[in-house]
């Protein structure tokens, strides 16, 4: 079985994978980072979104071997352990932007990418359009939109977290 090496949440990792092993499986099963979720099999639900070299990507649609040498950030890498939450995470809590929590890691990672591409002053229409790759069944998106707008604003000050702007 081939070996793959990458950096995940700042830590160098490697593991044995099959050619067909998906990145999400490598993260969840080899690295026991179960915050990234699988919700579909057609790359549409977004529960698996992570950051690959600073850009949002669906880990269900990447082979682990494709990520040789990459820098991966998952939801677990957003805030320091025992440290403050990332402003986007805090915004989701303040605005009740989650109910069952299953879509939430992917939603937050996607939200950060919306900010990266569209800046800190996001209007409702932009957020709704940009969430095309994320499905939530619980919230009706109303509070997710509020959370992302609030989180984007809060990030303006410069977020104290490991998630450096790339």
């Amino acid at each position: 079985m081939p070996t793959v090496s990458m950096t995940v949440n700042g830590k160098a990792v490697s593991g044995q994978v099959e050619e067909r092993t998906l990145l999400v499986q490598f993260l969840r099963e080899n690295l026991r980072l179960t915050g990234t979720h699988v919700g579909c099999d057609t790359s549409q639900c977004g529960a698996c979104v992570i950051h690959l070299d600073g850009i949002a990507a669906k880990s269900c649609t990447l082979l682990a071997l494709q990520c040789e040498g990459a820098k991966i950030t998952t939801i677990e890498g957003l805030a320091e352990p025992n440290g403050p939450l990332h402003p986007m995470q805090e915004a989701f809590r303040q605005n009740h932007g989650l109910q069952c929590g299953y879509c939430t890691p992917g939603m937050i990672m996607a939200a950060l990418d919306i900010v990266r591409r569209n800046g800190h002053d996001l209007d409702e229409h932009t957020i709704r359009e940009q969430l095309d790759g994320n499905i939530c069944r619980c919230t009706g998106y109303h509070n997710i939109v509020k959370a992302i707008a609030a989180g984007a604003k809060a990030m303006k000050g410069g977020a104290p977290s490991r998630q450096a702007a790339e």
Partner: protein
């Protein structure tokens, strides 16, 4: 109101683990030496199984076992059941066909499981499953509810694929009332089949401890104790006390995770047989083929009115598609959760509803958010809206003329509404929605080439499910009470063990708000424990918008007992008479004095037990209550939807949504609003986007998110949500429940709005651009913009 008490928009305790990726969902749980299960499923809608060849699969790498229905039956594993008996009009019981977890002899829907591969890894399991060779002899199939009775017979016990022919109401009196009508509105309605699609797929992880002969099941269930009971008592997997069921974090349910499914049964059986923990997680396309679907009614409905638009009677005839097998609660959805709501918010003297439930070669159908009440509301609210248009009475005005105004109100369909003010919700909604300004907005839309429409849905529903004797008399096999144990610790913190189960509803927060306020202790000091049959006493679980009305009421009753005992302890501590002790804001005071002790002190003393003897009082401070509600609760309200329809493409966009709901007492308005938002989104999904479609060969064409259109953020507006409050008289807190209301109200509001915009009633759900465009071609000349 304190910052963390009843009525406060407290931020949720459960959020921390979810926003940091530390939730523990069933697939996040792993057991040492875990094996994976992969099911072999029928590609045919209906076929005989001539042979199953497993030898090739068995030799594949990593395969531990390949098991079929024959072995399941040989091991005397029992069938899955439907637990609600419905009798037909002729008195005969419903025709419940056998439903083994792995079918033998015949497959009855695409996705029906015939075998399972247990392998070291998922990939090996999938590879081996492809090598299982099933020799099928395809049979003709039927998937359409309207055609079921004349289709090929699916089960021996059910000629004409008929499960029951049921009715409710006085047919003779209803017919007589129709004879007197000055106006009759008639509609043919299809309530489209939906796939619940919680974002977390269903999963099961089973483990057998041979040393103790104990089975453990981690499962995405909304009701672990019910799962345990059914699997023990009916499926006969193990005695109840030898089976532990754990529902860890569950990623949404919406009803689909209530039922007991083949997969967890097979995992338990396989775990014991192979002596390995066995895990199964649905792939999404597998979910489409196995999760209980929702809705799927075909209805002809009629409304009789007098010359003033006063409703004289309503009648409906419905064919309800229950799919290939009767799922756990399936029989009750189109009967006692549907026909009993046919009065809506209106004073209707006579109602008659007939329901025929049928088998088809489709995925089994059961409760899905609203469970029967969306179907009823759609019938009533479409009839009323169309009647208003036909009689040229303003839709809001017609409703006002018919609202129930005095309570309690006994409907002709069993339900007795306890308290409500429907006019108040309508009035507030109309103000919030600025209905007065609609015509101006309509002209503006027309200038932009859009047809603007407005639609009402004044819904009522029955939830807070349910008084046990009442549902028992209607055929339920179980009671629908709820349980709570309030466990005060010596150091004054509290655990509440609740039979309710949260899969997004925020119980860890709202239940703690209740306890914190009542006992006068910090919100942080209250933990809510749920989801584990080893930890928590028997409970019925969460569905039917019951965890506030019934689950919290159980907690209130237990808190009453806690307070009573704590007062006794306080009396001993302060050497006073028990009857002189008052409890307020966390302090026990001797009446008329300034002698007091705090809750924390009392808790410690209850356990140290130095201030009283065992003969005077038992030590400890822990009380349990099993609460049986005295009635259903009746949330009600008014939703108003505004749409713009592109006159060239038929694409409908929701441009405004107003909801004013009466949920009685609200514990956490932020959470309640979130429930309304989510419910509306699912209702809009039904109305505009979603629909499970089978082709003529019984293949599920909408078998993944590629073809089944899930609501995305850009399909929905932000919602204007308001509340009115008439407390429910039927439980101590006055709660009505809010979890399903949005899904119940929304579809009618959307379709009423679009049909208003295009001037045609010939529109079915989902109202895709194509469907709306087609309806527009049959519309009479468009209504004038300026009215």
């Amino acid at each position: 109101m304190s910052a963390t008490g009843i009525g406060a928009a407290v931020r949720r305790k459960e959020d921390f683990r979810f926003i940091t990726g530390q939730g523990q969902y069933t697939d996040d749980v792993t057991r040492p030496d875990e094996a994976r299960a992969v099911f072999v499923r029928s590609p045919h809608a209906h076929a005989k199984i001539r042979n199953i060849e497993v030898s090739a699969a068995k030799t594949m790498p990593g395969v531990i076992a390949v098991l079929t229905g024959a072995e399941l039956a040989a091991d005397k594993i029992g069938n899955l059941i439907c637990g609600w008996m419905i009798h037909s009009k002729d008195g005969s019981p419903m025709k419940m066909a056998p439903h083994p977890a792995l079918t033998t002899g015949k497959v009855n829907h695409v996705g029906d499981a015939v075998a399972v591969v247990i392998a070291e890894t998922l990939a090996q399991g999938r590879d081996a499953a492809e090598k299982v060779k099933v020799d099928y002899e395809p049979l003709p199939s039927v998937t359409d509810a309207a055609k079921a009775k004349s289709g090929p017979q699916i089960h021996e016990v059910a000629p004409k694929n008929t499960i029951y022919e049921w009715s409710l109401g006085d047919e003779k009196a209803t017919t007589a009332a129709f004879a007197k009508a000055k106006h009759v509105t008639k509609l043919d309605i299809v309530n489209n089949r939906l796939v619940p699609n919680a974002v977390e797929p269903r999963a099961a992880l089973a483990e057998y401890d041979a040393g103790t002969d104990q089975l453990t099941l981690w499962n995405t269930t909304q009701n672990p104790h019910v799962a345990r009971l059914v699997i023990a008592a009916f499926v006969a997997m193990a005695p109840e006390h030898k089976l532990r069921v754990i529902a860890p974090d569950v990623g949404g349910g919406f009803g689909s995770k209530i039922f007991i499914y083949p997969e967890e049964v097979v995992c338990l059986w396989a775990a014991r047989k192979t002596r390995r923990p066995v895990k199964w997680v649905a792939e999404r396309s597998e979910s489409f083929l196995t999760d209980a679907h929702g809705r799927d009614h075909v209805t002809h409905a009629e409304l009789a009115l007098d010359e003033n638009g006063k409703i004289l009677a309503l009648r409906a005839k419905t064919i309800a598609n229950l799919g290939a097998y009767m799922s756990t609660f399936s029989s009750s959805i189109p009967t006692y959760l549907y026909a009993t709501l046919m009065s809506g918010q209106y004073d209707i003297p006579q109602i008659h509803c007939e329901v025929d439930a049928v088998y088809t070669n489709t995925v089994p159908v059961d409760a899905y958010r609203g469970a029967g009440r969306p179907e009823a509301t759609f019938v009533v609210e479409r009839l009323v809206e169309v009647a208003a248009r036909e009689m040229k009475i303003e839709p809001a005005e017609l409703r006002k003329r018919n609202f129930i105004k005095s309570f309690p109100h006994q409907t002709p369909v069993i339900m007795a509404y306890d308290a409500g003010d429907y006019h108040a919700s309508l009035k507030k909604a109309m103000e919030l929605a600025d209905v007065k300004g609609f015509n101006k907005r309509k002209r503006e839309s027309a200038r932009n080439g859009k047809l603007r429409g407005i639609g009402y849905s004044t819904y009522i529903e029955a939830c807070g499910i349910a008084p046990s004797q009442a549902v028992g008399s209607l055929g339920a096999g179980v009671g629908l009470w709820e349980s709570a144990e309030v466990r005060v610790n010596p150091t004054g913190s509290v655990e509440v063990l609740t039979g309710s189960h949260a899969h997004g509803q925020g119980h860890e927060t709202t239940f703690a708000q209740l306890v914190s306020e009542r006992l006068g202790i910090p919100f942080e000091n209250v933990s809510i424990v749920h989801g584990d049959t080893d930890k928590v006493q028997f409970g019925m679980g969460t569905y039917g918008s019951r965890s506030g009305a019934v689950g919290m009421s159980a907690i209130v009753k237990a808190l009453d007992k806690i307070e009573a005992k704590a007062k006794k302890v306080a009396a001993f501590m302060m050497e006073a008479a028990e009857t002189d002790i008052e409890f307020k804001d966390g302090k026990f005071t001797v009446a008329g004095t300034d002698k007091s002790v705090g809750f924390g002190d009392v808790a410690l003393n209850a356990y140290i037990a130095h201030k009283f003897t065992g003969a005077q009082l038992e030590p400890g401070l822990k009380e349990t209550s099993f609460y049986d509600p005295t009635n259903f609760t009746f949330p009600a309200g008014c939703h108003i939807c505004e749409v713009e329809v592109d006159s060239e493409t038929g694409k409908a966009e929701i441009v405004a949504w107003t909801a004013v709901d009466d949920f009685g007492t609200v514990i956490n308005p932020m959470i309640v609003e979130g429930q309304v938002h989510g419910g509306i989104a699912q209702g809009v999904g039904q109305a505009l986007l979603e629909g499970a479609v089978y082709d003529k060969d019984g293949q599920l064409v909408t078998g993944s998110f590629m073809d089944y259109s899930m609501p995305h953020a850009h399909d929905l507006p932000s919602f204007h949500v308001g509340l009115t409050e008439t407390k429910s008289p039927s439980n101590p807190l006055g709660i009505k429940g809010c979890g399903e209301a949005g899904a119940i109200a929304a579809p009618a509001a959307v379709i009423n709005a679009i049909t208003d915009a295009i001037g045609s009633e010939q529109l079915s759900m989902p109202a895709t651009a194509n469907a709306v465009w087609a309806a527009m071609q049959h519309a009479p000349a468009q209504r004038q913009a300026a009215e």
